[in-house]
């Protein structure tokens, strides 16, 4: 006979199982496991806040302590999603306030968070510890003040990339003198002058502070004091701007940096004066992450800095690094795992720096652990891409952004189909891919046949016909997020692969050729999808059904159409066809 798993210890066993996918698998094994799992689940990740309602989530998981929510689609980062589209955090927070008085952590990404929501967090969760608002908006420093004043056990406050209505910098003073639990503070997006004395006192009385990321408004002469109060820092983000070079300041800063023996991650460095860079040299060897994407440092100083960071695992840098800098990087930083090269002058007609595909090829050859790449450049070739693919079959994320659209292989003038084909063929664990350059349907054929682990694909100005989209939807088994702009994809591929859409988190299509009729049809046939048509120019009913919609956002959901849509968004449902017929 069979034997059974000892249920009396299942909960204990589950305490060692943390990943969402494993938890989900566990919950589908059998009735008793389903039940036990849901009662002991403490952490929930909702990749699309409209895929499920707060009520359903609460009913299923009665004992959550930590929730992550994502709102707007990724293309919102490129201003493709209209401002009032949605993604409101308040309904979730209000529901949690009633259901989870012991909630400790909230991580929100691309959501609209009001001051009222922040007030609820501050007042209703007695043991609240972590608030991360990544790329959020809708709140002001007043909301932050309420958090500071009330959350006695707050460990982490992270406002990366969020738009904050900066009413006053005084909110920092709202942390009471008795408050000492801060471990991580990220206020880089705040632009107003903060009260430095309050900041200094706060830093001084929080002995566990490990991450401090400040806005560029913190002047350089204050930094040494801060660093001296927090020599235990592991992560620092700070502008280093100053108007002049003071020898005093230089030595103070050098001393302060040397004192931070545990510093591993550095970012910011906006407006840095190159002559101050040597103050960083003592800590370079210990750095694992360096983000210079805001720093206008030019090549010789940049190379000097980077080549001292032999333990670097992650580098984000502007294209000032040029091919020569990347070659130096490949020689010095053998532990490099992630590289992002951003454009210093994306709108310029002519290249302002000497950064080409060669830089990336060098890094792919020299850095065996490199698995994540984001690279902006102005030219690429199939042979370079193939070389990169063969050098680095361990790539998991590859995002190539050739600045001008429709750029062919600069050597052969061919499309870049074969090059990207090599990437998907050799990099069998590739999870994320962004394409650019001149691309035909052929590249999608490659992606469909090889991209079996691909989870996220971003396309712009690529392909010839519906066949391209069909290859992707029918071939990429693991696809979760697909975002497309300005591609000649229409109805056929979408409708033929309608079932696929229920296996994905979301599909975004803007400036494509999907007709209004197809949207309606999809909305009718697929009750578990929300098919949202975004039309800022006017109701799609006012144009013929064959006309393409401006923007289309399709996502699976168990909660039906949402009720908080702005006036220019419509959800296609079973009624929509009837209305216009």
């Amino acid at each position: 006979m069979g034997y059974s798993f000892p249920e009396e210890v299942l909960e204990h066993v589950l305490s060692f199982i943390d990943s969402d996918s494993d938890r989900n698998s566990v919950s589908l094994v059998c009735k008793s496991w389903h039940d036990i799992e849901r009662w002991c689940r403490r952490r929930l990740f909702v990749g699309n806040c409209y895929a499920v309602s707060p009520a359903i989530a609460i009913r299923r998981f009665p004992e959550l302590r930590s929730v992550s929510l994502k709102g707007k689609p990724h293309f919102a980062d490129f201003n493709l999603v209209p401002h009032e589209w949605g993604g409101y955090a308040y309904p979730w927070i209000a529901a949690f306030a009633k259901a989870y008085p012991w909630l400790e952590e909230l991580r929100l990404k691309r959501m609209v968070v009001s001051d009222e929501a922040l007030e609820l967090i501050a007042k209703k969760f007695k043991n609240f510890r972590v608030l991360v608002m990544y790329s959020c908006e809708g709140f002001s420093t007043d909301g932050l003040a309420t958090i500071a004043a009330n959350c006695r056990n707050l460990k982490e406050l992270d406002l990366s990339e969020s738009e904050v209505d900066d009413v006053s910098g005084n909110w920092l003073s709202q942390f009471p003198d008795s408050y000492t639990s801060l471990e991580s503070l990220n206020i880089t997006s705040l632009s107003s002058e903060i009260r430095f004395t309050a900041l200094e006192r706060l830093v001084g009385r929080c002995p566990n502070l490990k991450t401090l990321k400040l806005s560029h408004s913190v002047p350089l002469d204050l930094l040494p004091n801060l660093l001296q109060k927090a020599p235990q820092l592991v992560e620092l983000g700070s502008g280093l701007h100053t108007k002049e070079v003071h020898p005093d300041l230089y030595s103070k800063l050098a001393g302060a940096f040397s004192g931070c023996k545990g510093l591993k991650r550095l970012c910011g460095l906006r407006d840095v004066v190159p002559s101050y860079l040597p103050t960083l040299y003592p800590i370079c060897f210990g750095l694992t992450s360096l983000n210079l994407s805001d720093a206008p440092i030019q090549c010789p100083e940049l190379i000097k800095l980077v080549s001292q960071c032999q333990n670097l695992q992650r580098l984000w840098v502007l294209d000032y690094i040029e091919d020569t800098g990347l070659i130096a990087l490949a020689e010095s930083c053998k532990d490099l795992r992630e590289l992002r090269v951003f454009p210093s002058d994306p709108f310029g007609q002519e290249p302002n720096v000497s950064l080409t595909e060669q830089g990336l090829v060098s890094v792919s050859a020299g850095c065996p652990k490199l698995h994540s790449v984001l690279y902006f450049c102005r030219r690429m070739s199939n042979v370079a891409l193939s070389t990169i693919a063969r050098n680095r079959p361990n790539l998991t994320r590859f995002r190539l952004c050739i600045i001008e659209r429709f750029r062919p292989d600069y050597i052969t003038q061919e499309p870049l189909d074969v090059g990207f084909g090599a990437i998907v063929e050799h990099c069998k664990d590739l999870k994320r891919l962004s394409l650019s350059g001149l691309l035909t349907d052929r590249v999608f054929e490659y992606i469909g046949s090889h991209g079996k682990k691909l989870e996220m694909l971003s396309l712009a100005f690529a392909g010839d016909s519906d066949l391209g989209l069909h290859h992707v939807l029918s071939g990429c088994k693991s696809l979760r997020k697909l975002e497309i702009r300005d591609c000649p994809f229409g109805d056929k591929a979408l409708l033929a692969n309608a079932a696929k859409l229920e296996t994905m988190r979301s599909l975004w299509m803007s400036a494509c050729q999907v007709s209004y009729r197809a949207c309606k049809l999809l909305g009718q046939k697929m009750p578990r999808l929300n098919v949202e048509v975004i039309a800022e120019q006017g109701h799609p009913d006012s144009s013929p059904d064959e006309y393409p919609v401006e923007k289309l956002y399709i996502y699976r959901t168990v909660s039906g159409p949402r009720s908080d849509m702005p006036s220019f968004v419509w959800t296609m449902d079973k009624n929509s066809a009837l209305r216009s017929s």
Binding site: S4, V9, S25, L495, Q524
Partner: protein, 358 residues
Amino acid sequence: MSESAMAVVKPEMKSYIWLQTADGSIQQVEEEVAMFCPMICREILQTGMGSSKNYAISLPQRVNPAILGLILDYCRFHQVPGRSNKERKSFDEKFIRMDTKKLCELTSAADSLQLKPLVDLTSRALARIIEGKTPEEIRETFHLPDDLTEEEKLEPLRNITDDPRIRLLNRLYARKRKELKEREKLKNVEVEEERVDERSVDDLLSFINGEDGDSKGVRASKNKKKNRRRKDQMKDSSSNNVNGDHKKELDGVHTSCHNAEADEMLVSTPSKTSKLQELPASTFSPKLEFDDGDIDDELDPAMKEQLDREVEDFARRLNSDWPERMQEILSLGQQRRLVPISMNGNGSAHRYTSLDSR
């Protein structure tokens, strides 16, 4: 006593504890080894049992002699104070290597003896076995039953039955069912079949390309888990061959190719297992919990589905905007048709009647 002193002492002087397993067999164990188990330790200290064969400590049922042997090996090793962490870890790593069945028994036994370090060790090992597996694989490994219904896998939407909105909805449901039944008696059921969805992709494409499709509108795809709990009371005249399969568990999650012609479709069926697992719950369960049990089940399943959908839709709209809906609902009694209301974001409500032919 020091170890060397102990070596000099005659064996009979060493203390032993007597343990009895559920099958009746008794064995003796060195005292210090047995005392490593909190449960045994407590028994000895509180009751004085275990000092002789006749007063052997009864161990919990989950501890059989073979497993007891393993546990005692573990205790024997770890109760020695001088060992380094490295040694202990190395022992544990070797110790834990056993087949899954034995591992389960061991975990269970250790738990009943409250031997926490061993429970942790075995639990972690079980966690590692579970990680990375699909639900089927986990079931296979541990011989667990596959007793979640399709419905439960997607978690039906449930409403609290004492919500006044729900009571109203109940009445609405009941009234609607009666209406539909009456209508059915007047119609030829075969007409219904035309409106069942599951059109092939070719149909869809030809519809798009402007050929003459069924103009009655396409219905939303059938939710496969429907009607599974209900008794099959399909009308004989209903040639809903689409429903013919509904007793079988359907593969995969999506059903838009539920047709007999499914194989010919271009529609790519989603992978069975993992994709929808991210979602904690499902949507449109036909069997809303507040169903009145006494309403008879003789409706054509296709009609039932339509009805369920309308009511579900209505319930959802209700939930989102109660006060304004109150008026609508109260006036519904005068109308024969369900009046779905849609709202757009700026608050104006468009009202339209559903076409009867849906």
